[in-house]
C-alpha cells in the first residue's frame, strides 16, 4: 500500500512518443536501403563485368571492335559509348528549348482555359511507354523522315563537301539523327512538366513586381523567373538527360544497331543500352561479362554527368 503511495506520480506517455522511434527508424531505413541498393548495384556490376574489364583493360573503353563470336571474342565498346553520348547530347539540345518554351507558355502566356488541357497533354505524353515510341518511330516516323528529310538533304549536299560527309548514311529513316529525334520527343514532356512545376513555385509577388516595373514577358522570364528556378531547372535537365542516356527500346528500334563508329548523321550506330538489350538474351560467358561491364560504364557516365551538373551549379551559385 505504502509503496504505491510513495511511487512518483505517473505521467501519461504522450501518444506520439511510442511511434516516434518507429518513424525515425523507418526513415533511416529507407534512406540507408537506397544507399545500400546503389552500392549493391555498383558492386555487382563491377564483379559481373570484371572478367571482361580485366581481360581487355582500357581497350574495353577505347576499342572499336565488338565481336561476340566465341572463336575470336573481342569487346571494345567505343562505338556504343560514343553513340550514347552523341544521341543523348543531341536529344537534349533539341528538347530543352522546346521544353522551356512549353513551360513558359503554360505559365506566363497561356489563356487560363487552355492551361489545363495542354498541361494534361504534356503529362500524358510523359506516360507513354518507350516501346510505343520505338514502334511509332520505326513504322511511322522513319519512312516520313527518310522521304522528307534524309533524301532531300542527301541529294542537296554538294559532292565532296563537309555536308556530304555529315549527311552520309542510308536514307531509310534509321540512324543516329533519327534516334536523337525520337529521344528528344521522349524526354521533352518530362522536362516540360518539371519546368512548369518549377515555374509555378516562383512567388507571384516576385513576378508581378517585375511586371509592375514595366518588364516585358521575355524580360521577366529571362531575368526574374529563370534565375529563381535555376537550381531546380538543372535538376530537370539532368532528369531528361538521364532518361536519354538509359533509354533502350525506342533507340534499339531505330538507331540501326551497328557497333562501328557512326560516320554521319544518318549512319547507323548503337548505344550502351541498346547493345545490352540486343545481346543479353543470348549471351553467355565473356559476352555477358562484357555486357555487364557496359552497364557499369553507363552507370559511371550517368554519375559523372550528375556530378558535373552539381559542380556547375555550385560554381554558378558562388559567382
Amino acid at each position: 500500500m505504502s509503496i504505491v503511495l510513495n511511487a512518483p506520480p505517473r505521467r501519461g506517455t504522450p501518444r506520439g512518443a511510442t511511434f516516434e522511434p518507429v518513424f525515425e527508424g523507418l526513415c533511416f531505413g529507407a534512406a540507408t536501403a537506397l544507399l545500400v541498393a546503389l552500392g549493391g548495384v555498383l558492386v555487382s556490376l563491377a564483379i559481373g563485368g570484371w572478367p571482361a574489364l580485366s581481360r581487355f583493360g582500357l581497350n574495353f573503353i577505347t576499342g572499336v571492335t565488338w565481336d561476340p563470336n566465341p572463336d575470336h571474342e573481342v569487346y571494345g565498346a567505343a562505338g556504343p559509348i560514343v553513340g550514347t553520348l552523341i544521341t543523348s547530347a543531341a536529344a537534349l539540345a533539341m528538347a530543352l528549348p522546346v521544353a522551356g518554351g512549353v513551360a513558359f507558355f503554360l505559365v506566363e502566356l497561356c489563356p487560363t482555359f487552355l492551361r489545363r488541357p495542354i498541361g494534361t497533354a504534356v503529362e500524358l505524353l510523359a506516360g507513354i511507354p518507350s516501346i510505343v515510341y520505338g514502334m511509332w518511330g520505326l513504322f511511322v516516323f522513319a519512312p516520313f523522315f527518310a522521304a522528307h528529310v534524309e533524301t532531300p538533304l542527301m541529294s542537296a549536299a554538294p559532292p565532296g563537301s563537309f555536308w556530304e560527309t555529315l549527311f552520309s548514311g542510308i536514307p531509310n529513316g534509321s540512324g543516329m539523327l533519327a534516334a536523337s529525334i525520337i529521344l528528344a520527343i521522349m524526354i521533352l514532356p518530362f522536362m516540360a512538366a518539371t519546368l512548369r512545376e518549377l515555374l509555378n513555385t516562383v512567388p507571384p509577388q516576385v513576378r508581378e513586381s517585375a511586371y509592375g516595373l514595366g518588364a516585358t514577358t521575355a524580360e521577366v522570364v529571362l531575368s526574374v523567373t529563370l534565375p529563381y528556378i535555376r537550381r531546380g531547372a538543372i535538376g530537370a535537365v539532368m532528369l531528361g538527360l538521364g532518361r536519354a542516356l538509359g533509354e533502350t527500346m525506342a533507340v534499339t528500334f531505330i538507331i540501326g544497331n551497328s557497333h562501328a563508329f557512326p560516320k554521319g548523321l544518318f549512319d547507323s550506330g548503337s548505344t550502351i543500352a541498346s547493345t545490352i538489350a540486343n545481346e543479353f538474351n543470348e549471351a553467355s560467358g565473356l559476352q555477358s561479362a562484357a555486357l555487364i561491364a557496359l552497364g557499369l560504364v553507363l552507370f559511371v557516365i550517368t554519375f559523372t554527368v550528375l556530378a558535373l551538373a552539381r559542380l556547375l551549379l555550385r560554381t554558378q551559385v558562388r559567382a
Partner: protein, 347 residues
Amino acid sequence: MKILRAALTPVSWVAALALAAPATAASISGAGATFPAPVYAKWAETYRAQTHNDLNYQAIGSGGGIKQINAGTVDFGASDKPLKPDVQAADGLQQFPTVIGGVVPVMNLPGFKPGQIRLTGKVLADIYLGLIKKWNDPVIASWNKGVALPNIPITVVHRSDGSGTSFLFTTYLSMEDPKWAAGPGGNDAVNWPVGLGGKGNDGVAAFVKQTVGSIGYVEYAYAKQNQMTYALMQNKAGKWVAPNAANFAAAAAYAKWPAAPGFYLLLLDQPGAASWPITGATFILMHKKQTNPQAGHDVLAFFDWAYKNGDAQAAALDYVTLPAPVKALVRKSWNTIVGPNGKPVYP
C-alpha cells in the same frame, strides 16, 4: 493476369478431377527458343483440351533455354542451336529435334518478283562482307543472265539481337566462303562488317521494306506471311531452289540423322536436288538422368503426342515437320533418358 491464372488453376484442376480424367493432371514447364514458340503454344492448347495436361512454355531465347535447363528450373529447354555431343555429355543433357524451319534472303528491289534474282552462298557472303556493293555487280550479273539488274547500292540488313536465325545464316556463309569463316564466322551474333541491324524478324523486315536496294534475311514463316521478295538460292547439287516447305523437308530428309550422335546436325547445304540450303531444325534439351521420373515422362508424352498428332497444326503455322524415319529415331533415343532407378522414364 497472374491473379486470373491463380484463380483459374484450382478450378480447372477440380474440373479435371470431376471429369475423372485419366491419371493425374500434369503440368510441365519449358523455356527457350522463340522460333518454335508459336507451334509449341498451339500444341499445348490442343494437348490440354485432349488430355487435361498443362504445358507452360516461356519463349526467352535459345541461350536462356540452355541456361534454364542447366540450372534445373524447367523440365525441358529449347534451342535453335544444337549442342555438340561433347557439350551434351558434359552437362548430362540429351537433345532431339522437333520441327524444321528455313532462313530466307529477302530483298527490296522495285519491279522484281519473288524468285527473280538468283544468288549463291558465295555471292551472299560477299554481299554481307561488303565486297559486292551494287546490284548490277558483274558477279551477280553472271548468275542472272537476261535480268536487267538496277545500278543501285546494296544496303545490308542483319539481326541486331542474338538469334538462332543469325546462327543458321552466318554458319551457312562460313561454309560457303572461307573469307566469311575467317572473318565474322558463324554464331548467333557476330561482328558484322557492314550494314544495319534490325531487332527481331519484324525489325529486319521493316528496314528492308523501307530501303530500296536492301537485302536481309528472315525466318521463312515471316517472309511468307509478309509476301516478301525472296531470292532463289543455289544448293549443293547446283540446282536453283525456292524457299518453301517441300524444299526444307527435302533438306531434312537428306540429312544423315542416324550418323549424327546426339542429333547434332546442321541441315545447312544438304545434298539433294530440292534441298533449300539454309535449313535448320529446332531442338529440345532434357536431362539424361531425371530426378523426377514423372516429370520426364510427362515431357516425353507431350512430344510423343505432338509427333503423332501435331503435324497438321505445325504445317498451318508454316513449320516443316520431321520425316517419319527421323521421328522413329528420336523415339528410340528416348530410351536413354532414365529415372533414378536407371529405367527409361517413357513410355
